[in-house]
Amino acid sequence: MRVYHFTEQPYPDAWVKDAESLRVVLPTKLLDPVKAADLYHEYLDAWQLCDEIGLDIFVNEHHSTATCLTASANLILGILARTTKKARLLGLGFPIANNSNPLRVAEELAMIDVISRGRLEMGFVKGVPYEVHPANSLPVRHTERFWEAHDLIMKALTTHTGPFSWEGEFFNYRNVNVWPRPYQQPHPPVWISANSVPSARPIAQRGHVLGTVMTGYKAKDLFDEYRRAWADSGRKGPVPFDRLCYAGFVGVGHTRADGNRRGDMVMDYLRTNAIVGEAFKNPAGFIPALPAAQMIKKTGKMMFMSHDLFAKDGRNLGAFSDADLQCSIDGGLMFTGTPDDVYEQMVDFYETVGGFGHFLMMAQAGRMSYKDTEENITLFAKEVLPRLKDYTKARAKSWGIPERAVA
C-alpha cells in the first residue's frame, strides 16, 4: 500500500458567501497574490514533508477557480521533482482532453520523470464538466479526444527512433520527437481516473492503474469491473493491487475530537466543490444525449450532476456533494479520529471493496493551517501507515494476489 498526500491548494479567502459560482467566472480581484504566495509555499512545504516521512505526493489541477490554485499539475511536480528525493510524484492529473496541445504535455511529463530520476506516476483525467469553459474544449466527443491524446502521448514517450507524424481526428502534428525520453522505461506508470463502472473497462484493457476518486463503497463495483475486464482481455492471474487506487479524506488527531475536527476542516472541500454556475455544471453534450435524457426523466429536472453516496450496507446517503461529516464517514469517503480509528476504518473499507494498492488522501482542504496539516499527515505516516502496510501486505499474500504488477 502506498499513500499519497493531496491538497487542491485552495484559496479560501475568496470563498465569498453566497457566491453563485466559485469556479469559471469568479474574478481574480478576490485574490491577494502575497497571500497566494504564502499558501503555495505552505502547500509545497507539506508535500516536501511527505518526502521525509514516507508518504507519496498527489497533485491534480483545476482552472479558473478559488477551490484549487493548481492551474498546472506539471508545474508543481516540476518543482517537487527537484526538491524531493524519494516520494512518488503522482499527477492525476493532466486533463488531456481539455489540453489543446498533448505534445507539450508529453514533453513536460518526460522532463518531470527525468529530473525526479524516475519517480513520476503519470495520470490522465477526463476532467469535470466545468473545466470545458476555461479550456474552451468542445464538450462533445470528449472521450474520443481523451483517448486520441492518450495514444499520442504514449507513442510520443515510447518512440526513440526519431520523428513520427500524427494526423488524427483531433490532433495534427508533422514532427513528433519528444526530448528527453522518460527515465522509467518503457514509460512511467499510467493512471486514469474513473468514477463510473463502464469507464473501468478501457483502463483495465490497457493495464493502466484505475484511480477512483471519492466514490465511497461504489469503488467496489469499479474494482470488480476492472478485474472482469482484466481477465476478459486475456491477462493472466489476478489483478495486482498496484493497478487499483482509491481516494478519500483523512483527519487524524491524538484525540478523536481532534481528528474529527481536522476531518471536518477537510469537508470544506465538499462544501465548496459544487458551488458552480448552472450552465457550467451541465455543458451541453458533455454527457451524451441518451444518458442525459435518462437522468432527466429519472429526476424530473433538467440537471445532471453529483453521484449518490452509499453506506456499507447499501443504504443511499444522498448526493455526494451534500454529504456532511457523518455521511462521509458512513459512505467510506472520510477516515477520521485517532490513529486507531483511522486504521480500523481503513481496514474495514479495504476489506469491503476487496483491496487496493494506492490510497490518495486529501489531508488538507479549506482553511486547515500548515500546523494542522503537518500533524495530520505526520500522525498518519507514523501511526497509521506502518500498520496499514503490514496489514495489506499480509492480506495480499493470504489472497495470493501480487501487490505489484512489476516487482
Binding site: 462533445v140 448552472e278 457550467f280 442525459a292
Partner: protein, 270 residues
C-alpha cells in the same frame, strides 16, 4: 458522441443520410431550416407557411430524428447536406428560409450555390463575426442558466415552457440531442464561420433579413450588418418576437415571407 435515434417518421435518404422531413402546402417550393431548438412537426409555422408555399422542413442532421454521420462536425457539413437535399427533392426556384442557426446554414448554402434558389430569408441569423476580437456579437448561450437563456431568447417565455416530466422519453432525448449537436457545430468559434461574412456577396438572389426585435442574444445591428453584406438585401423587423419569430409570431412570420416573395417578383406557383 452523437447517437442516432430509431425511426419515428417519414425519412428521406439524402446521400445515404437519413433525414426526417415534414412537407406542407402547395405552390412555390420553400425550404425551411429550423434553429438550434430543432423543429416540432406540430409547429404552427408549418401550416402558416403552407398556406402560401409548398413547404419542405427537414430536421437538420443531428436534430430531431435525423442521422448525424460520425465524420461530420460543422455547419459546413449541414450546408452541403442541404444542397444535397435540394437536389434529392429536385426543388427548383425555391425560397430558402432559416432561423438563427438555421439562418447560418441557409447563408452558407446560398454562398455555395444559388442555382436552385429564387430567394433567401435569414431570420435572426447566426454565422458571421462583426465585432472586434474582444467583443462577442452574441451572448454565449452555452454559459447562460436555462431560465436566463429563455428570457433572452423569447419575448414571451411561455413559448419556452418544457416540462421534462410530462414529456416523453423521445422528446427529452431529442431535446438533449439538439443541444449536443448545437454545441458541436457552434462551440468555437462561437456561432460563426470566420469566412462567411466575406462570402455573402455571392448571394445573388433576392434576400431578406428578418429580425425579431426582442432578441436579446444578438443586437439588431448584427442583423443589419448581415443585410448590408448581401447585395440588395432588405432588412425588416418583426415585433413581439425574440430570436425565434417563427415560434412567437408564426402568422406574421409567414405573411412577411409571402410579402417578400411577392415584392421580389417571385411569383407563386401552382
Amino acid at each position: 458522441m452523437l447517437d442516432n435515434l430509431p425511426d419515428a417518421g417519414p425519412f428521406l435518404s439524402v446521400n445515404a443520410v437519413k433525414t426526417e422531413i415534414v412537407r406542407r402546402g402547395q405552390g412555390r417550393p420553400l425550404l425551411f431550416l429550423h434553429p438550434e431548438l430543432g423543429l416540432s412537426p406540430a409547429a404552427p409555422v408549418l401550416d402558416a407557411l403552407g398556406a402560401h408555399f409548398a413547404v419542405t422542413a427537414p430536421s437538420l442532421p443531428g436534430y430531431g430524428h435525423s442521422e448525424f454521420p460520425r465524420a461530420w462536425s460543422s455547419v459546413d457539413d449541414l450546408a452541403y447536406h442541404t444542397l444535397d437535399l435540394l437536389e434529392a427533392l429536385d426543388l427548383r426556384d425555391a425560397i430558402l428560409v432559416g432561423v438563427s442557426l438555421g439562418g447560418w446554414v441557409a447563408a452558407e448554402v446560398a454562398t455555395k450555390s444559388c442555382e436552385r434558389l429564387a430567394g433567401v430569408v435569414l431570420v435572426n441569423p447566426a454565422g458571421i463575426k462583426t465585432g472586434d476580437r474582444e467583443h462577442r456579437d452574441m451572448l454565449d448561450i452555452f454559459s447562460l442558466p436555462q431560465k436566463e437563456l429563455e428570457a433572452k431568447c423569447f419575448a414571451d417565455t411561455r413559448f419556452a415552457a418544457f416540462d421534462p416530466q410530462a414529456a416523453s422519453m423521445d422528446e427529452v432525448h431529442i431535446r438533449m440531442r439538439n443541444r449536443e449537436t448545437t454545441v458541436l457545430l457552434a462551440w468555437s468559434p462561437y456561432m460563426y464561420n470566420p469566412k462567411l461574412a466575406g462570402r455573402l456577396h455571392r448571394i445573388h438572389v433576392p434576400s431578406l433579413v428578418l429580425w425579431g426585435t426582442e432578441d436579446r442574444i444578438a443586437p439588431e445591428s448584427y442583423g443589419r450588418t448581415y443585410a448590408q453584406r448581401i447585395p440588395g438585401a432588405k432588412f425588416q423587423t418583426i415585433a413581439k418576437a425574440g430570436r425565434f419569430p417563427h415560434i412567437e409570431q408564426p402568422q406574421e412570420f409567414a405573411r412577411a415571407v409571402a410579402a417578400f416573395a411577392k415584392d421580389s417578383g417571385i411569383a407563386p406557383r401552382k
